[in-house]
Symmetry: none
Subunit: 221 residues, 4 copies
Amino acid sequence: MAARPKRARSVRPAKAGGHRRRRNGEGTPDRREAILAAALDEFSLRGFAAARLDDVARRAGVAKGTIYLYFRDKEALFQELVRSVIGPLIERFEASAEIDLPARVVAERIVEMFVREIYGTRRKDVIRLIIAEGPRFPKIAEFYYREVISRVIAAVRGLLRRAAERGEIPAEALARFPQLLVAPGLVAIVWHGLFDRFEPLDVAALMRAHLDLLFGERRTG
Amino acid sequence: MAARPKRARSVRPAKAGGHRRRRNGEGTPDRREAILAAALDEFSLRGFAAARLDDVARRAGVAKGTIYLYFRDKEALFQELVRSVIGPLIERFEASAEIDLPARVVAERIVEMFVREIYGTRRKDVIRLIIAEGPRFPKIAEFYYREVISRVIAAVRGLLRRAAERGEIPAEALARFPQLLVAPGLVAIVWHGLFDRFEPLDVAALMRAHLDLLFGERRTG
Amino acid sequence: MAARPKRARSVRPAKAGGHRRRRNGEGTPDRREAILAAALDEFSLRGFAAARLDDVARRAGVAKGTIYLYFRDKEALFQELVRSVIGPLIERFEASAEIDLPARVVAERIVEMFVREIYGTRRKDVIRLIIAEGPRFPKIAEFYYREVISRVIAAVRGLLRRAAERGEIPAEALARFPQLLVAPGLVAIVWHGLFDRFEPLDVAALMRAHLDLLFGERRTG
Amino acid sequence: MAARPKRARSVRPAKAGGHRRRRNGEGTPDRREAILAAALDEFSLRGFAAARLDDVARRAGVAKGTIYLYFRDKEALFQELVRSVIGPLIERFEASAEIDLPARVVAERIVEMFVREIYGTRRKDVIRLIIAEGPRFPKIAEFYYREVISRVIAAVRGLLRRAAERGEIPAEALARFPQLLVAPGLVAIVWHGLFDRFEPLDVAALMRAHLDLLFGERRTG
DNA sequence: GATGAATGAGGGTTCATTCAT
DNA sequence: TATGAATGAACCCTCATTCAT
């Protein structure tokens, strides 16, 4: 406690407080964003429990206390990280699925969007985090289910059921289990985190092969 | 650990009287097994970093120090846990895949074995652990890749390539990416950990639907 | 501060919008007074170490930095608080004691002044603070001794010795230990802070009873 | 977190854990008592909030973590400190007050016991702590009221009322406010903490003078 | 072997203090 | 003057690890 009546403030007795480290002209000094980005790095690297806010702060270029100006505690930081990354994704996904085109075309678009917007970005790391930490963070799991999974499932299911009625896809199996459409995406994310250094995975090809299996071949690279 | 998702301040009674002695005279010989089982429980419940060896010991009915008689440290305990659970699985899987039956039949057997031997047992929790903690434990990831993934992939790939040559499956997409065969299994495991309480998943039906999509319908339950 | 006796995690809204602007145009001129008043509230409520300048500032309706325009640091704020409240009291007390009336009359006046000017005001809280924090603030204790205690003691002692010589009081015990005259006042202050909610204390009656014991009965309410 | 997958445990990578510092043959290694004694020292010196458990541990000759083997947290340590010191006092006090002797004799015994058992021991520091910290620790205040104050008050009141009935004391003022009997004791404790270095107080003489005032002179030293 | 009390480094969180605006 | 975002030292508490018994 800095306020304890004297006791010689260990070192630097008269300079304990805060310099604003005005980092050179960078434009927005948006600390909140910087902290979230750093948190994603550290949480991805070590997992929630083992990540240190000290490292988050250093990586973000702020002092440790600064984190607490923007987030109530470590857990809130984690939750807001997930929300901020996942939130914006939702509308886009739903929009894509609602277009009334042939199922295969829509499926291709969804897959392509997955590869571009998730697998190709830091969002894949957030999804990895959700998979890894979700069981210990019921709120995160619930948020993710409510805001993402259930909506995507509903959208895809509607799309596929119509396609099945039009006979575009062999059975309505896919409509019952829309998870099957994105299952390889999940595999890709998990594979990336665990095995890529032993055997890299061509995700685009994987997803194309998957679509070929579901809808019958078309033209493959 | 402040980061553990909150837990009712475990009321350590200030002089920890309670010491759970084990049942019979000189103890079950397999303390090692008991510790591994307890470790699986605790690691599953909290994740590696947040699990406490104190809880593992209590759950196993041994003293904390005893763990160190059998395992070098917490990390070694985790690694051996994975090994001990995953190891025995391998031969069986390979055996199944080598039988030279029609691809669909073999695929069905593999899927059924997955449901019975993995999804239906604690092994699914170990796989969840590998997914969650693997990136922080390169040795675990490598072991799992070397001893399980690469072998299963090779076996399945051989099987499917032969089937594709015989025209039993439409394309060789599956042979290129055998991951596609088990992708729904992975989804099921992840789903179970995160979303089952919102929307339970009928894994057997999911896997059957998946096979129907891959091989064309046949007879569905 | 983990040591503060628990307080519902003050819900800092992560971007602390609310900033209580003061009422009129360019502000009440006596920010200093406002800060001192707020400091008395907070120090009384939590004690010196656990009080937060943040709360003092909020209560005073100023920014945190403003405190440092008027006081060197937290300790100086505390010292000046004590001075500003105790200082004005002194002359009055001395004046009362110097009047050359019968001892009992003077004692009654002193007691009455204590009840009215100390026990009935926030000054009692300052005295409580001195009692509680004094040992850690030698300067405060010294100031209080030099400016208050020693003077009051001297005044009361002179008064009583004269009274004893005139035979108005049975012995010179009181003159040797003028503390005995105010001891019940101290008890009242301490009692108020600790036990009033269990058993309220009628301070006026207590003081009257005390005088009756010292000087022999007269007329009691 | 010591368990974080590697990161070179800063210094002494293989010797992080616990040596039992078996202090030379001392008899009881009663750590609990040592910690309580050290806590009394530190809390007295700095107050509850500003005291550091680090210092308590050092003073007790144990490691910081050891404190938590015996006490749930800092607050529990404080509460148990008060209880352990105050508790044993109660019966003795009650016993003394119940003897049916002339009031003055009993009062003298009580006063003498106060001087010997409280003022002459560390218990006076605990009472100072209660006065200083009680308002922030309602449980402490309640415990102290329930277990000490209310009982002592009741005992003294009974004693004095009987004495008043026998005409031994002039009025029943004292029976109404037994606090008046011990008020100088409180003054002595407070004085000791604050002003002894400026003007030492002869407590025994103070208490004797007090009794003389209450009961009429007898023989004074 | 088995125990569990003891250790002490480590990390989340707080808050007095500073200073650019 | 006044502000309040930023700082970082400090401190409570946890828990992997050790070792005398």
